[in-house]
Symmetry: C2
Subunit: 203 residues, 2 copies
C-alpha cells in the first residue's frame, strides 16, 4: 500500500522543489493576511501548505528568513524606475513604489515585525540591508543623478538619507493613520521628498 497523500495530488508528490515553493508561498501569504505575522507559525505554514515542518526547517533557520525570502525578497526586486522626464515625475514614481511596498496592506503588517526580528539577529539584519536597502538606495540615487544632469537640481541629496526619510515616514504614516488611503499617503510622501530635495535649491 503506497503512502496516502494528504495533499491529494493525483500523481503523488508534486514534482520537486518548485511546486513545494509555490505551496509555501501561498500558505504564508494567506496566513499573513488571516492572522498576521506574530501569530504565523512554522507549524501552521506546514499544515496549510502540506509541506512537512522538517522540510521548512531544512530551508530556513527562522520564520523571519522564510517570510523575507518568500514575500519581501520577490517584491523588492523591481526594475529601475523609468525616466519620467522631470524631477517631479520621477519623485512621484518613486513615492508610489515605496508606498506600495512598505505601506501596502501586506507591507505594513510585516515590516515592523521583520525589523523587530532582525534587531536581534545579525545575519538577518545584514540580508535585510543588503538585498532590500542597498537596491532601493541605488534606485533613488539614479533618480537624483538624472535630475542633476537635467539641471533640476544643483547637486544630489544623499540618497541614503532620502531613503530613510521616505521609508520611515511612509511606515509611520501607515501605522498612525491606517485610515489614510494609499493615494493620499503617496501624495504626502511626494511632498516630503520634494521638501527635502528643494532644500538644496532654496538655500
Amino acid at each position: 500500500m503506497a503512502r496516502s497523500n494528504k495533499r491529494g495530488a493525483v500523481a503523488g508528490r508534486p514534482a520537486r522543489g518548485q511546486a513545494t515553493t509555490e505551496a509555501l508561498h501561498r500558505a504564508v501569504q494567506e496566513l499573513l493576511e488571516e492572522v498576521g505575522y506574530r501569530a504565523l507559525t512554522i507549524e501552521g505554514v506546514a499544515a496549510r501548505s502540506g509541506v512537512a515542518k522538517t522540510s521548512i526547517y531544512r530551508r530556513w533557520p527562522s520564520k523571519a528568513e522564510m517570510v523575507f525570502d518568500l514575500i519581501l525578497h520577490s517584491s523588492a526586486e523591481l526594475p529601475a524606475l523609468d525616466d519620467q522626464g522631470s524631477l517631479t515625475g520621477d519623485i512621484e514614481a518613486l513615492s508610489a513604489r515605496i508606498v506600495a511596498l512598505v505601506a501596502g496592506p501586506l507591507g505594513r503588517r510585516i515590516f515592523p515585525c521583520l525589523i523587530c526580528d532582525a534587531a536581534s539577529d545579525r545575519g538577518l539584519m545584514q540580508r535585510f540591508r543588503a538585498t532590500f536597502v542597498a537596491d532601493g538606495r541605488d534606485q533613488i540615487a539614479q533618480v537624483l543623478e538624472r535630475s542633476v544632469r537635467r539641471g533640476d537640481l544643483p547637486d544630489a541629496t544623499a540618497a541614503a538619507d532620502l531613503q530613510s526619510a521616505l521609508i520611515g515616514t511612509a511606515l509611520m504614516f501607515a501605522l498612525l493613520h491606517p485610515d489614510l488611503d494609499e493615494g493620499a499617503l503617496r501624495d504626502k510622501i511626494t511632498d516630503l521628498a520634494m521638501a527635502v530635495v528643494n532644500q538644496r535649491r532654496n538655500h
Copy 2:
C-alpha cells in the same frame, strides 16, 4: 517553619506594591539590554525580579503592555518644550527629544517590536496612540503655533504630518545606520524638520 524567602529579604516580603514595581522595572530594563525585546519572557522577568509569574499576569495581559507601562510610558510623559526663542531653536529641542526617545539605545530596540505587537492587538494600539502619539503631536503643535505667532512661519504645518515624518525617519535612520551617533542623527532630523516647515515659506 516560615516560608523560606528566595529573595533573601530580611523582613520577609518587600513591603507592598511599590517595591514590587521597582523590582519589575529594573528586571525589565536589564533584560531588555541583555537579550532584547524578542527574547524577553515573562518567566524571565519573574525570575530576575523575584516577583511571581502569576503576579505579573495579574497586572498586565501581555508582555507588550508590561513593557509599554514600565519603560515607555514613563519616558514619554515629559513636560512641554521650553520656548527657545526661535523656530530653529525650538526645532532643535524637538529633534533632540524625539531622537532620545525613539532612537536611543533602548528605544531603537523596543519600538519596532512594540509596533509589531500592537499591529495584532487593537487595544494596545489604541493605548499606544493615545498616551504616546497624541501627547507628542500636541507638543509639536505648540512649537509650530509659537513660530506662527512670532512671525517665523506664515502658517503651521500639520503637526501630525510632521510628527510621523520625524519619528519615522529617526527610527529608520537608527535602524539602517546604527553606527551614526545620536548627535549626528539629531542634526539630520533637525534638517528634515526645517525642510518641511520651510516648504510653506518658499512657496
